[in-house]
């Protein structure tokens, strides 16, 4: 189900122009993604936490979303320290935990948490239609904007159809095992889901055409130009530049 628990609010970040937010958070995320210097990454994480606090995000909802990456990170922590080549830190029987492996895992953990937090604070604090409108204004190709908005709006509907199909096969006594019948049934299920999703997409598109849709999204949300936008942008750009400087200095 689409829920936009962060979109309603009146914090400083909620009131910023969505275009500024998208540009700033994109620049920040790219810098974080390509940085390697751990103190720089830790500072970035601190910045993200400050942003989340400024947006007054609900801690419980934030943790719920971070949990999704947590499983991915767990996998990395299990695999990378054992498989990466380099100085060994610790040896258990045939397994060797390497220093570069551990460092890499730390970096990935900080980076993903930082970027996710920043996106939650800056992007999820606007409604999806506002995001689409802002992306239009930033001259992003219309196809990408549509892909983003439609996926977001209808992923839940498709999930519902999946559940319905699943119920339909369950009530007829289907039990999943490793037989060829089982695999074939799942293949049909997935095939059916694609077919249904595509006809659904066509109907939605038709309904939009009937209401005069010509490829652009409009939002009812109002964002007045204000000094606040610029002050925040300069600060945020300064922080991002600071991270770049830290990273470059670390190369000595």
């Amino acid at each position: 189900m689409i829920q936009e628990p962060f979109a309603a609010g009146s914090s400083l970040i909620h009131r910023l122009d969505p275009r500024f937010r998208i540009v700033l958070v994109s620049a920040f995320s790219i810098v974080v993604a390509i940085s390697n210097h751990i103190p720089a990454l830790l500072s970035a994480l601190a910045v993200s936490i400050v942003l989340a606090a400024m947006a007054r995000l609900n801690l419980k909802e934030v943790l719920k979303r971070l949990r999704v990456v947590f499983w991915f990170l767990l996998l990395i922590w299990v695999v990378l320290p054992l498989t990466f080549e380099g100085n060994s830190l610790y040896r258990v029987g045939p397994f060797t935990i390497t220093e570069p492996g551990v460092l890499l895992s730390i970096r990935i953990t900080i980076k993903s948490t930082t970027i996710l937090l920043a996106l939650m604070a800056m992007i999820l604090t606007m409604t999806i239609v506002t995001t689409g409108h802002a992306l239009n204004l930033l001259h992003l190709p219309e196809k990408i904007v549509h892909l983003l908005l439609m996926t977001y709006r209808y992923i839940f509907v498709i999930e519902q159809e999946y559940q319905r199909l699943l119920t339909a096969i369950k009530i007829r006594g289907f039990r999943s095992d490793t037989s060829i019948h089982s695999y074939r049934t799942f293949a049909y299920l997935i095939g059916m889901l694609f077919v249904r999703a595509s006809t659904r997409a066509q109907r939605v598109h038709h309904a939009m055409l009937c209401r005069g849709f010509r490829g652009r999204f409009y939002t009812l949300a109002r964002f007045k130009p204000s000094v606040r936008n610029w002050v925040f942008s300069i600060l945020m750009a300064g922080v991002t530049a600071g991270l770049i400087v830290m990273e470059i200095n670390s190369y000595g």
């Binding site: 189900m1 689409i2 659904r200 309904a207 009937c210 209401r211 005069g212 849709f213």
Partner: protein, 242 residues
């Protein structure tokens, strides 16, 4: 609109889905200003297809379509058609696109170039008219079936159309909601075409009832609508006899 008040004119229109037989076969239809027309026909007889051809969503393989006195053929011709003919889809979920009710109803007006203020005031007026004031900030996909139907009707009416096409508007509605829909439709000052499987409903909201057979549409005067008084258990619950 031409002199005789003809809004929609189809002449020998054919349509077939990929590799199939003609669903619509040399169909002629003339729809006038002030007409209120019902269509009852079996599943798969091409009722929805007919609506989609009128809106330009499906392209007929042959035939002539004139709407408001002007021939329409290309996608561009249909842009103005879609502004003036409002189509209510069978499944409200296809139509409700935005997260909140107000945004969804304002989607059409904004698309046709209304300002934010105009779009909001039109939307509020229509919601109010349909008895949905207070629904503005409700989340569209959390509405009940009946509420969804009325919100999608509001979304169509917000385009301020000159004609309505209603595709099974009563599907999945209980008796009370249906009665409300009848009240709204008969109170509108608009010509419309209604597709429905329900005789009671269609006779309540339209004057003439047509049927589609072998891809052609014709006035079926042999249909006799009749009522019985009858008693049985659970008779108080809204139900159908088929």
């Amino acid at each position: 609109m031409d002199k005789n008040g003809v809004i929609i004119q189809l002449e020998k229109v054919c349509f077939a889905y990929h590799g199939g037989n003609n669903v619509i076969d040399e169909l002629d239809l003339t729809f006038h200003q002030g007409d209120r027309l019902g269509i009852i026909a079996p599943n798969g007889s091409g009722k929805t297809t007919l609506f989609h051809i009128i809106m330009g969503l499906l392209k007929p393989c042959s035939g002539k379509i004139e709407i408001f006195g002007r021939p329409v053929q290309k996608e561009k011709d249909f842009h103005s058609v879609r502004r003036r003919i409002g189509l209510l889809f069978q499944d409200a979920d296809d139509q409700l696109f935005s997260p909140t009710v107000l945004e969804d109803v304002a989607f059409g007006p904004l698309n046709i170039g209304k300002s934010k203020e105009e779009a909001i005031s039109i939307s509020r007026r229509i919601l109010d008219f349909l008895g949905l004031s207070g629904f503005e900030d409700r989340v569209t996909f959390k509405l009940s079936g009946g509420e969804k139907r009325f919100v999608s009707l509001a979304a169509v009416l917000a385009m301020e159309p000159a004609v309505l096409l209603l595709d099974e508007p009563t599907a999945g509605l209980d008796g009370h909601t249906k009665a409300k829909l009848i009240e709204v439709l008969t109170g509108l000052d608009l010509p419309y075409i209604v597709i429905s499987h329900e005789y009671d409903f269609i006779t309540a909201v339209t004057g003439q009832i047509y049927t589609i057979e072998n891809g052609k549409i014709f006035l079926d005067e042999e249909l006799h609508v009749h009522q019985h008084e009858h008693v049985h258990r659970m008779g108080k619950q809204p139900h159908k006899h088929i």
